[in-house]
Amino acid sequence: ADTPEITVFAAASTTNAITDIIALFTAENKGRVTTSFASSSTLAKQINQGAPADVYLSANPKWMGFLEKNNMIEPGTRFDLLGNRLVLIAPLDSSMDVTITSGFNLAGLLGQEKLAMGDPDHVPAGIYGKQALTTLGVWESVASKVARAKDVRAALMLVERGEAPLGIVYATDAAISKKVKVVAFFPENSHPAITYPVALVSGKATPGARAFLEFLKTSASGAVFEKYGFSLR
Amino acid sequence: MGKPGPCGFVSFLLLLPWRPWLFQNFWLAVWNGACEEKIDPMLDIDLKKVQGDFTVEAAFVAKGAGVTAMFGHSGAGKTSIINMIAGLSRPDAGHIVVNDHCVFDGEKNVHIPPEGRRFGYVFQDGRLFPHLSVRNNLVYGMKRVPPGARYIEFDQVVDLLGISHLLKRHPATLSGGEKQRVAIGRSLLTSPVLLIMDEPLASLDQARKSEVLPFIARLPRELRVPILYVTHSVDEILNLADTLVFLSNGKTLAVGSVETVSARDDFQRLTGGMEAAVVVSTRVDSHDPGAGLTRLEFPGGMLSVPLVDLPVNGTVRARIHPRNVGLALEAFPRTSFQNIFQGIVTGINDPCNGSLVNVSLDIGIPLMATITPRARQELDLKPGTRVHAMIKSVSVSLGYVAT
């Protein structure tokens, strides 16, 4: 019979996990899935302009809120799918040894060099990072040493290349790179909870799309997410 | 609705939606109609245009199919004028009427684009298409003329100009003279209704010139195509032209027959005086193949010239150069001078500070002889002296034009 066609717009940072999950989903013959991975903001704006998305997985609640405000989200379908941790990373060969405590000497560790992180003005990981550093009382001292990257992956790359001795990224990003190591986890209470909300696009609440949304909650999916470093909400 | 005049018709066409290919055929229809009616070819030109500090203000009328030569010092405005006639630049005011068709009228705001005029134009600076082979350069204009309106053959032109071995080449590899010949061929092959040539033979050798010039001279007579011809060569003017337009500083100084205009002082000055000649219109009276002579009748009697192939009773222009006119007080038998005219000295002047003397004679027509002061003393010439003017028949030059 006719397998449902589902289009998933997902934050680029979930590319691996979602790709794997879709493989599982189609293997069960539940439907054919098309994806588009881009930054959450791009996807949100596209959905707002009538993009053919059925499912939207955002890396932060802000852009989900934007779509909700514009009535582009099927009411009652939004839920928080994933969580993430914020970590301090260093190049693999780094000898740096850090414990994150209130007022730890980040500036001293950096010296003349930069701290790579997502742009604290808009990149979710950067926003969380700034909040964490502020809570820990070190933001003032390192603000001028921040290399604000376009997205988390760019920050990751700066550390990979050794251009920055330290960086702040998600645990999931640290997990995909073989050239960096996690130096320390930020205390979970140093920043608001990191959540990835997911929802159906308004008018797209088809059985297929609902099935996919449900499939994300299954333990099979959960295992995949955890494999890539996400925590489940 | 009354029958509209040509200018009216033209303005009407200009109101039509602008479709050049369609248009082109319209113009052709207009021209062809005209040609069939055998309207007497003529140019009626009156132009004014300001270009920087330079003002062109030229007006002339040339009647009958023929060669109109434009002559004037370098920078006199010749190229500027023919650009306007060809439609490449727009005059500020005036009118251009060719063969009774008005192609420009400042007041009625008529301005037919160049492609609607079907004038052939041989440019002073060649302007061959560098991306086309010589053959494609030649046929570029020809292809745009319906076969029915063509009066000249490809092979004929290629042979005349001696460019058959160049057809496959591209202009970049041609020599200066080869380029010039291709440019002439290209415009001839459009079978134009008026042929405009801007110093077309400047870089050709004499042998080629003497082939091309008579061919050009035949076009007006045989095909009724008027020619507007810019040149610095007095020889070419005297050989070709019916009407001479003499320009200076953008103004027409004189317009008229070659005979009258070329006799002007300012014309003679521009040609360096050296080239001055008395030009007479003559009628072919008879041929004498045995003696190798043709006899031409002119108001002063008969002029013998070497045998030429012209119809009896046709007219031909003869040029007698004052430096070739000898004077004697008696007539002598048994000389090689076939032309000895009795005449009377009408004036003597001395233009070159004592090294040369110009003697004006009346032998039925005015004639000039240039002699040395010594000869003047020996012959004791003064106004009223009766003399014999001796002219070698081979020193008389004839124009190509005869009708």
């Binding site: 588009s36 596209q46 302009q49 | 290919w21 248009f23």
Partner: protein, 240 residues
């Protein structure tokens, strides 16, 4: 040479990139030449505006162009909606949109190159063509166009290369849908988001470069042939 064997995803991206860049160039060629001609030859009020408009996609970041296209030509867009009602053509989120985005981004480069060539054409040759009976359109095709051939080639190469690398406007306008809008740069971007993606990214990068290089070589050969013909094979040269 395992490394050189393309995966189906890569092949798909390559195919799509070529298709989209091809259409982008094809589609912008005629309007590009037209606009270049108008800018090179005509004086009219508002010329600066047209000039500015043409340069716009070059001046603003690609993302802005993409977003503007989304707003204008998207399914809900001002023009997009109207176009859909009129012709049924949709640009949003399909290859047509990607081609549109690439074309718009490449347009200023095409126009500038062609315009430069048109400004260099000896108008004396065009005048000669007119006296030979060619009207303005006729002569444009038979004289101007062949003479600006090198400029058109340059414009096409610039436009094609720019299209091939187009990312920001494309991902913003038509999203990143494999098989539909995922061109080489977008696939490359996706690969940078996954672990071990670097090798794949490098492969895609090499593919792009090879394609562009091939286009470059073809264009140089074409332009070279034209040039040799117009200058004469054994043209005199100055030796050292």
């Amino acid at each position: 040479m395992e490394f050189l064997k393309l995966t189906s995803v890569e092949l798909e991206a390559l195919r799509l990139s070529l298709w989209i860049s091809g259409w982008a160039v094809l589609g912008s060629l005629v309007p590009g030449i037209l606009v270049a001609w108008v800018l090179a030859r005509k004086q009219f009020p508002g010329k600066v505006l047209l000039d500015g408009l043409v340069h716009l996609p070059l001046v603003v970041p690609p993302v802005v162009t993409g977003y503007t296209l989304l707003l204008l030509m998207g399914r809900r867009g001002i023009l997009g909606k109207w176009l859909y009602d009129l012709t049924g053509i949709v640009f949003a989120f399909n290859w047509k949109g990607a081609a549109l985005a690439s074309g718009v981004m490449a347009f200023p480069l095409l126009v500038r190159a062609v315009r430069l060539s048109i400004e260099n054409v000896d108008q004396g040759l065009e005048q000669a063509a007119r006296t030979l009976g060619a009207g303005p359109i006729d002569l444009f095709f038979t004289v101007t166009l062949p003479l600006i051939f090198p400029g058109i080639i340059t414009g096409i190469i610039l436009a094609f290369a720019r299209s091939l690398s187009e990312f920001g406007a494309t991902i913003t306008f038509v999203s990143n849908i494999p098989g539909q809008t995922q061109t080489l740069p977008l696939a490359l971007y996706t690969l940078t988001q996954v672990p071990d993606g670097e090798a794949g990214a490098l492969r895609l990068c090499i593919i792009s470069v090879v394609v562009a290089l091939a286009a470059l070589v073809v264009s140089e050969l074409l332009a070279g042939r034209m040039e040799r013909r117009m200058r004469g094979k054994n043209r005199s040269h100055v030796g050292h």
